[in-house]
Amino acid sequence: MLNPALKLNQKIFDKNVEVVPTRKGYGDALEKLGEVNPNIVVLCADLTDSTQCAKFAEKFPERFIECGVAEQNMAAIAAGLGVSGKIPFISSYATFSPGKNWETIRTTIVYNQSNVKIAGHHSGIVTGPDGATHQATEDIASVRAWPLIKIVIPCDSNEAFRATEASVDIEGPIYLRFTRDKTPVITTDKTPFDINHAQIYWLGKNPQATIFGTGHLLYYALVAASELEREKIDVDVVNVATIKPIDEVTIVSSAEKSGAVVTVEDHQITGGLGSAIAEVLSRNKPLPMEYIGLQDTFAESGKPAELIKKYKMDDEAIIEAVKKVIKRK
């Protein structure tokens, strides 16, 4: 069942569950932050509307910096602002930032410890019709290898709002990952957000496997859990919103209890959440694991739902992975 303590959206399994893109939470939070904190500065590289910076730009034009199509310049300008008392957010598609400007961010923001917040939009295959060039599916891997950075991947628009807000209270660089497509709202205003801890969203009575999910695919993990319950297979579903630093305690204790693990992420299965969980478990309690995500391939154009089905990231694929991993115990 949905963890009652977290006050999650009770209508999540309804056919017409509310859907909102996580990027909207980012844009709403920027607008609010702009009001309360005069040091917030937002930079964009010619994607003001689609990265949801338009409201901030309109309200605080003197603190909105249009960089044109120049992601390296955007990152390094932000680095200069960040060591001068400002709190810059850089906004672009994740394939370009932190993709194209990876080394610029590494040197001038991360190693340099400048207080910059990096917002990577249009992540995952749910970017859809634009095709694989615009679907960021290696960004977690490439950012996770850096020391001195935090990574947060909100599961819905509410969590995106909270994560954006919370990033300001953390001194230093942080990577926030957002999606373009409208995805189900999993949490409510009353759901506590804790940037330091993974949270158990679905509690199985006698869990035989733990599903660790991150980002919007957490919805499919919850749907899978509820369908599995009907088949008398209990699982726990854990929302790992913060991938770095990762909450080892919650991960190990939950995995130990069930004895088998499935990871779910809209990203290559190499280097992302699955790898992070495997690193934790191999050091503490090695267990059978199955990985849901892009299986070492680029995706293609299509509707998000079609892509999720074709590339085996939907509830059906998760159920299959759970059954498989339980057999391997």
């Binding site: 003197e62 603190r63 910096i65 120049a70 390094a76 680095a79 340099n112």
Partner: protein, 286 residues
């Protein structure tokens, strides 16, 4: 910035020779690092730290300080030596350059050494960072100035021109770029490797004020900075034509010295030449 009297100018010129000697000694001790760029840019660093910058070596985090951003981080030996002589850290510490547990990293790292404004080495990133600082100064209505030192070679990086375009469009007039136009890069002469000229016309087209000077002439440089400070509604670039390896005859204008340090014999010859410049010829066996 105060006026540059003759006496102060002579003092700076003497100081520059001292900096060059310490660069040679520091590179010899380190056993690796760049020689030509640091020697070529010595006069400019000397003028910055001992005359132009509004700074306090005892308070490197003073919020009102002028910012000196080194974009081409590989010439950091000249910055380290000049900072040590200015009082940022003990001169003795120069012996730790490029060695383990040192604050003097092979390429400058901001959080390692107070007084450094950025982490640099990967080229083409300095102007953008300086723009960020300049924008912060404008937002905070502060009148400190930002100086960014670049190399000619790093003008082959796309990021450099992204920054040039941005600064021109946004009229970043509290920013002065000083380009070390020494014509060499690792693989040879810039105009053979990847031609940069006409640099003056390129920057004019990007809406910058352009001042060409002899970068090994302290008076010319100080006057150019004075002019740049008076220019509004535009960023300024001072194209400093320097002699790479300046002061050491066998290093001057030879691109082979771009990325190499002197060995013991070469260092001895170099130091002898530099002491001659100072008019203080002493025994090599001292």
């Amino acid at each position: 910035m105060s006026e540059l009297h003759e006496e102060k100018l002579r003092e700076l010129e003497e100081k520059a020779i001292e900096i060059r000697q310490l660069i040679i000694k520091t590179l010899l001790e380190a056993g690796s690092g760049h020689s030509a760029g640091p020697l070529g840019m010595t006069d400019i660093f000397c003028a910055f730290y001992f005359h132009i910058l509004n700074h306090d070596p005892k308070k490197p985090d003073w919020p009102e300080r002028d910012r000196l951003v080194l974009s081409n981080g590989h010439i950091c030996p000249v910055q380290y030596v000049t900072m040590a002589l200015a009082g940022y850290f003990p001169i003795e510490e120069l012996k730790t350059l490029r060695k383990i547990d040192s604050r003097l990293q092979g390429h400058p790292h901001r959080t390692a050494l107070p007084g450094l404004e950025t982490t640099s080495g990967p080229l083409g990133e300095g102007i953008s960072q300086a723009i960020g600082m300049a924008l912060a100064a404008k937002l905070d209505k502060k009148d400190y100035r930002i100086y960014v030192l670049t190399s000619d070679g790093e003008h082959q990086e796309g990021n450099t021109w992204e920054a040039a375009m941005f600064a021109g469009k946004n009229k970043i007039d509290n920013l002065v770029q000083v380009m070390d136009r020494n014509n060499i890069q690792i693989d040879g002469f810039t105009e053979n490797v990847m031609p940069l000229e006409p640099l003056r016309e390129k920057y004019l087209a990007f809406n910058w004020e352009v001042i060409d000077i002899d970068g090994n002439n302290i008076r010319e440089f100080v006057e150019a900075v004075g002019k740049a400070q008076a220019i509004h509604e535009k960023p300024t670039i001072i194209i400093a034509h320097t002699t790479p390896g300046k002061g050491v005859s066998f290093m001057e204008n030879d691109y082979k010295w771009h990325g190499s340090p002197p060995n013991e014999e070469e260092a001895k010859t170099a130091l002898h030449e530099l002491r001659t410049l100072q008019g203080k010829i002493v025994s090599e066996h001292e």
